[in-house]
């Protein structure tokens, strides 16, 4: 994969500027370097030898949430994410790299290392994640206030049901290394359903590597995860995080040959926990007032419609469908811009008068909390799966 493969696609950017209207980074920064149009003009110049790869070019490529919003709106249908990643990859090969982004991504992708607790703690100290960890938790004490507003329907006596569906569970780094609350919730919810959870020793999904353009390592991880999955016997591969799921779905695009076939074999089985709950016809004993749902940029239509169904008894308030501003390491690398985007999202949540906002990606939890804290709001942020629990 090299940038030159995308030469025609990049040239096809007509400069119409439609992407400016949807790009959260542009909204915050008001500069061309933020948005795909500017990025493409720059890459086009590089492909025409009017400019060269540089630290600055990398800095500008990194100024992206990989939210894919621009591509959805781009009249020329240009896949910004892939082009930006490929440019980063090209630069990495040429020795131009952003260690701040690459280093943690590679560490995360190293299972053995990650399990080595001490090193882990050191790293998160280094990257100031430690203060952030508590942001991942649902504030149970505060949440209790909110739960008063939730009416729990009287539940029929639960009967342990026969297990007929095998669900291989990809836990992801947060469950594995930071806070297993999602994992616990899922196990609890599925206890009395036909779905049985199977675990496997997966690696990180690889998204941090992919969005740093480190395709070599990413492909390795992809192959490893595919292998780990296919060693098991299962009906579905389930995810509690929309971003991890979308990354698994992208594997087939990045690897070739026999392994690509394997990835494609896996693809139809990849679903979110919410889709699984829909499949097993799970009815949550939940009826709550004024809840906002933040769909991660990586959530697909299937996941969204499953969530809507699950929450059909709840009063969902409308918020603007904008990015939370976190986007993994973007939150650390470009904190000022990230805060601004989060803050805008928070404004829309506050305006909606929601009691609580739920989402399905741990990174979004950070973004949402960051924004609400900045706006001095005490609206709760929670993983949907924990709310369902």
């Amino acid at each position: 994969m090299k940038l030159n493969d995308y030469k025609e696609e990049i040239y096809k950017c007509s400069g119409c500027g439609q992407c400016q209207g949807v790009c959260p980074v542009y909204e915050a920064l008001k500069k061309e370097c933020a948005v795909s149009r500017g990025k493409f003009k720059l890459l086009n110049a590089i492909l025409n030898n009017d400019a060269k790869y540089s630290k600055k070019v990398l800095e500008y490529m990194d100024l992206c949430l990989h939210c894919n919003k621009c591509s959805l709106f781009c009249p020329s249908g240009i896949n910004a994410q892939k082009i930006i990643e490929t440019a980063q990859f090209d630069m990495l090969k040429n020795g131009i790299k952003n260690q701040k982004k690459l280093f943690p991504a590679r560490i995360l992708a190293n299972k053995k290392l990650m399990k080595f607790a001490k090193i882990f703690i050191d790293i998160i100290r280094n990257f100031k994640i430690l203060e952030m960890i508590n942001l991942f938790n649902c504030p149970n004490n505060k949440l209790s206030r909110y739960f008063l507003k939730i009416k729990v329907k009287p539940q029929a006596e639960k009967k342990p049901s026969a297990k007929t569906i095998k669900a291989l569970y990809f836990k992801g780094c947060i469950n594995n290394y930071v806070n297993p609350s999602n994992q616990n919730a899922i196990k609890n919810i599925l206890q009395n359903t036909p779905a049985e959870i199977i675990e496997a020793d997966f690696n990180c999904c690889g998204l941090p590597l992919k969005s740093a353009g480190d395709f070599e390592c990413f492909k390795e991880i992809a192959r490893e995860n595919i292998k780990t999955a296919l060693e098991k016997d299962f009906d579905y591969l389930i995810f509690d995080c929309a971003s991890c799921k979308s990354t698994f779905l992208s594997y087939a695009e990045y690897i070739d040959g026999k392994e690509k076939e394997k990835a494609e074999e896996l693809t139809p089985k990849i679903i979110s926990i919410y889709e699984l709950l829909d499949i097993i016809n799970y009815k949550p004993a939940l009826k709550c007032d004024k809840i906002a749902v933040h769909y991660p940029c990586h959530a697909d239509i299937k996941e969204k419609s499953a969530i809507k169904k699950l929450l059909s008894d709840c009063n969902i308030v409308e918020t603007e469908d904008t990015c939370c501003g976190a986007a993994g390491s973007f939150l650390f690398d470009n904190n000022k811009i990230s805060k601004e985007i989060s803050s805008k999202k928070a404004e829309s949540i506050i305006r909606s008068d929601a009691n609580c906002v739920v989402t399905t990606c741990p990174s979004c939890i950070l973004g949402l909390k960051q924004g609400l804290i900045k706006q001095k709001s005490d609206i709760e942020v929670c993983q949907l799966i924990e709310l369902l629990n």
Binding site: E8, Y11, K12, S14, G15, C16, G17, Q18, Q20, G21, K30, K31, E32, C33, R37, G38, K41, L42, A45, D50, A51, S54, K56, V57, Y60, C74, P75, S76, G77
Partner: protein, 471 residues
Amino acid sequence: MIKTTDKQENKITKAFEKILGKENILTSKEDRIMYATDSTAVSTDLYLPDYVLMPQTTQQISEIMKIAYKYAIPVTTRGAGTNMAGACVPFKGGIVICTNKMNNILDFDIQNQTIKVQTGVIVGDMQAFVEKNGLFYPPDPSNLKVSTIGGSLAMSSSGSRTFKYGGTKDYVLDLTVVLSTGEIIKTGSNTIKNATGYNLTQLFVGSEGTLGIITEATFRLIPKPENTNLLLAYFKTVDNAANAINSIILNKIVPSVLDIMDEITMKTIEKYAPAGLLTDNAATLFIEVDGDENAIEKQIQQIKSICRDFNSTEIQIASTEEEKTKLWAARRSSFGAVAKLRPNVLSEDMVVPRSKMPMMIERTYEIAEKYNLNISIVGHAGDGNFHPHIAFDLRDKEETQRVNKAIKELFLQAINFGGKISGEHGIGSVKAKYLKYSVDTFALKYMKQIKNLFDAKGIMNPNKVFDYEIE
């Protein structure tokens, strides 16, 4: 490029830093590349500015202009950079002044129904803001979600609703403008009427950044129509569609939108972003009506019966808000859809007397065939304003030559029919060489004198509007 010594350049940079702060000055090559183009397929060459400046106030722009004037540095103003005429390409380098950070609403007077904004405000944002307050700013260029108030003033933009409600020029009351010398002038007044002295406000509308930099603008607003509905009428021939349009107008029905879209455009949209258009017709009319429920119903019935009289094959009426939004999105995506066909698209913009529309469309197809080009048409049929979208590859020199020949023929044809070469996209750099065919010789002489009066040093957006050789 600026012709200054290193020492002077240092001094200039320092001065800009003092006015704007470092973070609002972009000088890296990477940044300058990104501000070298707009939405127009002008050239495969790059014309880099030396500085990209991002001011936030009128005062800052005035300070910048004093320096630019002193050293005779070319200045190109840029809003969203989405014009279709190559109007903000900095052919001579120098400074690009970007208004994107000038995006404050300064005053909203609900009682007098006026609004005052900085000119970097996005048209769609201002529109949404006033609509939330029950008022209406009708001008709706189809890229209103991104284009700026400054750009729409400087290009005299309009849109689909112009047929009933007029364009940008019909709503502007007052402008604050920074001239090439750095002087700040106010051109009009907050009042709805004003017959006091020359109408300088309108002089700056459509001036394409060649006379001064508009920093603030006051607009009048109107009450928001209670409701709207959308009707699509399909026809097997362009003639039938054109006759239906005439009949609607002669029957004193005034739809808020009366647009036409041809078969190739419909097919292209359906191919890339299906919206349910019936593509086996030669043309469809996009007709929006507004008013209270009764008025809407009455207009729809009248329009339906007229369209049937002219053998409309099918009439679609949007029944839900969702459907309306979807059909509008399809209409507004026509340029984008065509952009998928070939690497580049030029959107031309002739306007002819309404009665000449069908003939002009027919001639356009003939010219497309003659030069073997891919041309599709959308237009504001009610205004006689239509956009042939020419899809091509600028890198293919031979094809580009054919495109240029075709455009010249199209222009001469429009002029022959008593029309003009631009209805709403302006002249910019790409049409400058045709201006002399489309403007009265003596009027042109006075236009040039006006330009010299406001811009003695020729630093304001060089190479635009008038026919200069590009170095």
